[in-house]
């Protein structure tokens, strides 16, 4: 039983990292959003599995929020925004896909080396979860760095948040307050982002954040 619990958790968390990699090489926004939805489904499965293994029923709520909000509502809403703005082909990478993938590999290697060595005392389930979670966080950061388009930056940010929730679920017995607040803050963050996207579209007719850089502070 212990072996199975570990293997399934490992599989799901590993799946999350794999999907994070898939996000890195998507060249269309719709495809990117679909991959993000897959990641959210994997996240909710992973959290639900942790809930079952740890016998922590409150984690089911986190799993349900992740599924409803991140796998359904956000991708659908983003699809609509993209359709209305007509920007589905506008994914621009600052760095090429090859170097990005290599950087991603290096980040995953880094997080596994760091976490597995440091958290030797923690039980193996939590330890591996934390290592994968750190990988997802770092890959999300990488995505935000290499993309110039505002929508894909937002997706990178949400993918980063997925890593955080994976880590919070893996930390056994972490109080409920925190999980709900994480989910809630994502919601707040999204409304803020939504407002921004609208305003940005109104003002610039583009949501390529490179266009925002025309205004460079003091260089007037």
């Amino acid at each position: 039983m212990k072996g199975l619990a570990f293997d399934v958790a490992h599989l799901l968390a590993g799946g999350l990292v794999l999907v994070s990699f898939m996000q890195l090489y998507q060249t269309r926004l719709y495809a990117l959003l679909n991959v993000f939805a897959v990641q959210a489904v994997l996240l909710s499965l992973s959290v639900a599995w942790q809930a079952w293994v740890q016998d922590a029923p409150h984690l089911y709520i986190t799993a349900a929020i992740a599924f409803l909000f991140k796998a359904l509502i956000i991708p659908i809403a983003m699809h609509r925004i993209i359709a209305r703005l007509g920007i589905e082909r506008d994914v621009e990478n600052v760095v090429g896909i090859g170097p990005t993938m290599l950087a991603g590999l290096a980040l995953v290697a880094l997080s596994i080396v760091v976490m597995l060595r440091i958290a030797e005392q923690a039980d193996p389930l939590a330890r591996e979860d934390l290592a994968f979670a750190l990988s997802v966080v770092l890959l999300g950061l990488l995505m935000m760095v290499v993309r110039r388009n505002a929508v894909s930056m937002v997706v990178g940010f949400m993918s980063l948040e997925n890593g955080l929730i994976l880590a919070a679920a893996g930390a056994k017995g972490m109080p409920l307050v925190v999980e709900i607040s994480v989910a809630f803050s994502v919601l707040v963050a999204f409304t803020v982002i939504g407002v921004f996207l609208f305003r940005i579209r109104e003002r610039f007719d583009t949501i390529d954040s490179g266009a925002l850089d025309r205004f460079q502070g003091d260089r007037q």
Partner: protein, 482 residues
């Protein structure tokens, strides 16, 4: 525990929250400005009672000698800023930069920000503190973007993205602290409570704590505005309404600093963990020197003082990183002096920018002739922030430098170098603005002199004769910080 104990903490949270709800409903901006001031004053008075009736420590709230300094400073500057804001916003409405609806939003957000900052300061729970800081960030993002100009939206977007990444890293650090605490304290709430963590931290796994501190330092350090992560700060200060610049510089940076200090205390108490001091001192020194050079190229007056905030946060973090009774004392004093001086400078700059209709330094000249009161206030403010005697900033900078000289002369030389570079830049810019050829903008100002006068008065008092009870208090806290 008596009834009065409970009330002070509750009051500084409930009053802003309730007034935020009320302000969202009041349509007349004059009424809401008055309500804003009264509510901030009530919060300040409630915070001041904490000196006399010390609230009891629970699982969620904590008031000890360290955070009481932050709370009182926070509520005081929030109050004076609300007075300044009342004299500032009317003009924004006349020029059409803001509509009455925007003002309703602005006032409600101001109180929510005050609530979030107070919550972060009194929280006895690392999770609750994180939530409060996140809330404060989102509130200020909304306020920075309130003018809806291209520049304001870019500033808010940049602030939002960098702030969220910072806050996300801080959450990962928070989870790691809980992971380190779990084997000792068991599962559940107690692994996130400051007072319990502090009592048992010596038994935690040092390696996990080290890693946690890296994330926490980067995460909350972004919010402090430390050098490689500061990019949001100048834009957010320059494009938002000036009262928000004052609150950002004077208060929100301190709240993030408070979080860093708490985690530093935690690591200091664990014998196996790496000493957090050198990391903080390095980041602080880099911020100071970088910002000092950046001051020379500024053309926008609010950006100039935003970079000066980065510089001063660098000095403060450096002082706390050096540690020891004297350096900690200097850090606390410098933090207080910087908050008071910088917010007063922003009050002055806000009125100046309104009268001149521009924030470009090149277009703001000869202020001491056209606007004697504001012009001389600016001169006083820049002298004070540049660290000239007899102002309080001189005193605290002097203490930082002397305590560093005693322990590491090389670092002290770098510190003095940074301070001198910044001094030169500020004097260079001030000369044109205050004493150049007068250009227009000489209609009478409606500036409220009370907040500016009160802040400079306190800074002068601290420079000439710091009140002994205050010195004793700061010494006590400095000893607590190790």
């Amino acid at each position: 525990m008596s009834g009065a104990d409970f009330d002070a903490v509750t009051a500084i949270l409930v009053v802003p929250a309730a007034s935020a709800a009320a302000l969202a409903l009041i349509a007349n901006y004059r009424v809401s400005a008055v309500v804003n001031v009264l509510s901030s004053l009530t919060t300040l008075l409630a915070a001041a009672t904490m000196f006399v009736f010390k609230p009891a420590t629970g699982l969620y709230f904590l008031v000890d000698d360290l955070n009481i300094v932050f709370i009182v400073l926070n509520t005081f500057v929030a109050f004076t800023t609300s007075v300044f804001s009342a004299s500032y916003i009317g003009h924004e409405l006349e020029t059409g930069r803001l509509t009455p609806l925007h003002l309703r939003f602005y006032h409600a957000m101001y109180q929510i920000l005050l609530f979030a900052m107070n919550l972060a300061l009194v929280a006895n729970n690392i999770g609750l503190m994180w939530v409060a800081i996140e809330m404060a960030t989102l509130t200020t993002v909304a306020m920075v973007g309130i003018y809806r100009t291209q520049e304001a939206i870019e500033a808010a977007w940049k602030y939002f993205i960098l702030g969220s990444v910072g806050i996300a890293l801080a959450l990962f650090g928070t989870i790691l602290v809980y992971m380190a605490a779990r084997p000792i304290l068991g599962e559940g709430l107690s692994g996130m409570v400051w007072t319990i963590l502090n009592a048992h931290v010596a038994e935690f796994d040092p390696a996990l704590l080290n890693l946690a501190f890296v994330f926490l330092m980067l995460g909350y350090g972004t919010k402090v505005g430390l050098a490689p992560l500061h990019a949001w700060l100048p834009d957010a200060h320059a494009e938002g309404p000036t009262p928000i610049s004052a609150v950002l510089s004077g208060l929100l940076l301190n709240v993030a600093l408070y979080a860093v200090l708490r985690f530093k205390l935690l690591l200091d108490a664990n014998p196996g963990a790496v000493a957090p001091g050198p990391l903080m001192a390095t980041l602080g020194l880099v911020s100071l020197i970088f910002a000092a050079f950046m001051l020379y190229r500024r053309r926008d007056i609010k950006r100039l003082f935003a970079f000066s905030s980065i510089e001063h946060m660098g000095i403060i973090v450096f002082a706390f990183g050096m540690g020891g009774a004297l350096a900690n004392f200097a850090g606390l004093l410098h933090m207080t002096m910087h908050s008071l001086t910088k917010s007063a400078i922003f009050f002055t700059v806000g009125h100046i920018a309104q009268l001149k209709g521009t924030q470009r330094i090149a277009d703001i000249t000869g202020l001491t002739v056209t606007q004697p009161w504001l012009g001389w206030s600016l001169v006083v403010g820049v002298f004070a922030i540049a660290g000239l005697p007899p102002w309080g900033v001189f005193m605290s900078e002097f203490l930082v430098v002397t305590s560093t000289f005693a322990r590491s002369p090389v670092l002290a030389l770098l510190l003095v170098f940074g301070l001198l570079v910044a001094f030169g830049a500020l004097m260079l810019r001030l000369q044109g603005m205050a004493f150049g050829e007068p250009t227009g903008g000489d209609r009478p100002s409606t500036a409220s002199s009370l907040p500016i006068g009160a802040h400079f008065g306190l800074v002068l008092l601290a420079g000439i004769y710091p009140p002994p009870p205050l010195v004793a208090w700061f010494q006590h806290v400095a000893a607590m910080l190790r």
